[in-house]
Amino acid sequence: MHDLLAQLLQVGFFAALIRIATPLIFATLGELLAERSGVLNLGVEGIMLFSAMTGFTASYYSGSLWTGVAAAAATGAVMGLLMGLLTVTLGLSQHVSGLGVTMLCSGFAFFFYRLIFGEPSQPPSIQPFRALPIPGLSDLPFIGPVLFNQFALSYLAFAAVLLAALALAHTPWGLSLRTVGENPRAADAAGVNVARIRYQALLLSGALMGIGGAYLSIAQYNAFTFGVISGRGWVAIALVVFGQWQPWRSTLGALLFAFIDALQLRLQASGLIHVPYQIFLMLPFVLTIVAMALVSRNARAPAALLIPFRREER
């Protein structure tokens, strides 16, 4: 057993962990910002899928991966604004709006992919992102290859968490956003435009989810497939709860999920445990539910989550 662990927990394992965590960090942060402003964004799974598709397509035709990232972020932002139109301006059910946006985005992803690429026997592929070693730091023992020899998007993910955590805790905008999510009436009385803050949060939320989706189709893999997201968006929602709506804690949750996911991949590849591979695939989802059961009792969601704000009504 000790040998098995030693074999599993090598440098390569932790490097893979960061790669697996990256899209989850983006999506979880996006979901967190929306929820802290008072809007549950159930569009996450579909937004990631559609953005993975537009990001891939833009990269494929422009030959530039960063164009793909921009296209994916823009796709996500537009869908975030659609969530805003539905839940903020119209004040519709956040649950149903989000499910509708996910269905719409999944439909769009499949429809446009088929329209653009047809049904080729070999799915079109691109030359995906390569690891970007940080000079000096990447040569450090262990830490170097794990933390400083990753995709540029992985650095961006951690930078985004840092930025969001600082902005939420220490800027007037962050204070407004938190107040809007906890007590929109008080925020409104203090002169904060509740709708505008929620739109901003949803725009950012969508863009982050979009980058997370594109990461899968142009960095981790080199093509778009219909199952490329396969539940990662829903996991992100669970991770926000697990992280108690705190950016770093939620990121830690994403890293834990990635740890389990990387572990199951290693165990599968090692061939040491004779269990069907589907059981391994299932494991991270099972543990996510277990983790939710452990933390949910004491979880305190933003007080105004799910409640539309209408200025003229009390």
Binding site: L42, L86, L99, M103, G107, R114, G231, V235, V241, I289
Partner: protein, 360 residues
């Protein structure tokens, strides 16, 4: 400055119940016509293919009815769950659970032939109910969000079934991962007077009035609505939220499980990974279009069944990707949700006054 204002309505006129879904569907089709044009097809031609061919011959009509059966059941499953604000997005998983339960009994040789159909139907309902009770229990006992758990449980169950079909439950005679076929005697009978309609279609049809009765004429139905509309008031009235949620979840899961049993007993005669083309998720759209009313689920299910049936033909004839049907589902869910605003509000055109000018 001209300003559009929403004003609260005190009562909803009855004609809106019929008009709103039609309005929502019309809006969805108009919005999606741009995609048809983008695909280089004639909009009217494509829509005619999509919605008329499924009704054009007796054969097509029965095919549409067969597709409508699981959708009626998953639509009812969502309708009852959402009434109690139990966010059951797990209809797809519960359908598969029911399919596994029914298929398992359908392969058992010890079952007397006279009992095999009811046993399969019961097993399907029980398996679906059990799979829905898990997230309901997690919600009532540990306050775990039901949206997330019901969704994640779909993935868990599908991976589990995939493992079964690859290993211990694989049909040795098939190259594909499928379960062994059910006994020939276990295949559901064809309803008299029809060519293809099987027992599962009748089950779905009967479920509609039964669910309407449960919801509108029983104490349990009253509790479901009370918990959904105002859980705190319901608690004051002595209704246990937890018990109501658990019972609703069981009923909801059982309905989705019945859909799975029907697909195994009447259509596929075995379990495979692509047994359902997302019937569980389409059930959400259907329930919303029906305004969570069991009687409305039937026409809504027929509409989406027609669209699913017609999509392949439309794609072959016009070159528009089949996934247009998925987009229409998503758009119609959103247009219906928007249309529901008219049940609470009416649109007023008025000059703005300073107090409302800042409203974004």
């Amino acid at each position: 400055m001209i300003h559009l204002r929403l004003e609260r309505r005190s009562a909803t006129p009855a004609w809106l119940n019929l008009a709103l879904p039609l309005l929502a569907l019309a809006a969805a089709l108009i919005l999606c016509s741009g995609l048809v044009a983008l695909a280089g097809a004639d909009v009217l031609d494509a829509y005619a293919q999509l919605f008329l061919t499924p009704f054009s011959t007796g054969f097509d009509l029965e095919q549409t009815a067969i597709k409508a059966a699981p959708l009626v059941l998953t639509g009812l499953a969502v309708a009852i769950a959402f009434r109690a604000r139990f966010w059951n997005i797990g209809g797809e998983g519960q359908l598969y659970a029911g399919a596994v339960g029914a298929a398992f009994l359908g392969t058992q040789l010890w079952l007397p032939i006279g009992l095999i159909w009811p046993a399969m139907i019961l097993a399907g309902a029980l398996a679906g109910a059990a799979w829905a009770l898990l997230p309901a229990y997690l919600r009532t006992r540990f306050k775990v969000d039901d949206v997330v758990t019901t969704l994640l449980l779909n993935f868990i169950l599908l991976y589990g079934i995939s493992a079964l079909l690859d290993g211990p439950w694989k049909n040795p005679r098939s190259a594909y991962p499928t379960s062994p076929p059910i006994r020939p005697e276990a295949q559901f009978p064809i309803l008299p007077g029809t060519e293809q309609l099987h027992l599962g279609v009748l089950v779905a049809l009967l479920a509609v009035p039964i669910l309407w009765f449960i919801l509108n004429r029983t104490t349990f139905g009253f509790a479901v609505k009370a918990v959904g509309e105002n859980a705190r008031a319901a608690a004051y009235a002595g209704i246990s939220t937890a018990r109501t949620i658990l019972a609703t979840a069981a009923l909801s899961g059982a309905l989705a499980g019945l859909a799975g049993a029907g697909e195994v007993g009447g259509v596929h005669y075995q379990v495979m990974a692509d047994l359902s083309p997302g019937y569980g998720y389409t059930g959400i759209v259907i329930a919303m279009l029906a305004r969570l009313n069991p009687l409305g689920v039937l026409p809504a299910a027929i509409f989406y069944a027609a669209m699913i049936t017609g999509a392949e033909g439309m794609s072959r004839a016009t070159g528009v990707p089949v996934f247009l049907a998925d987009v229409i589902q998503g758009v119609s869910l959103l247009t219906m949700l928007t249309a529901l605003l008219f049940t609470q509000y009416r649109l007023r055109i008025a000059g703005s006054h300073p107090g409302t000018a800042r409203h974004a």
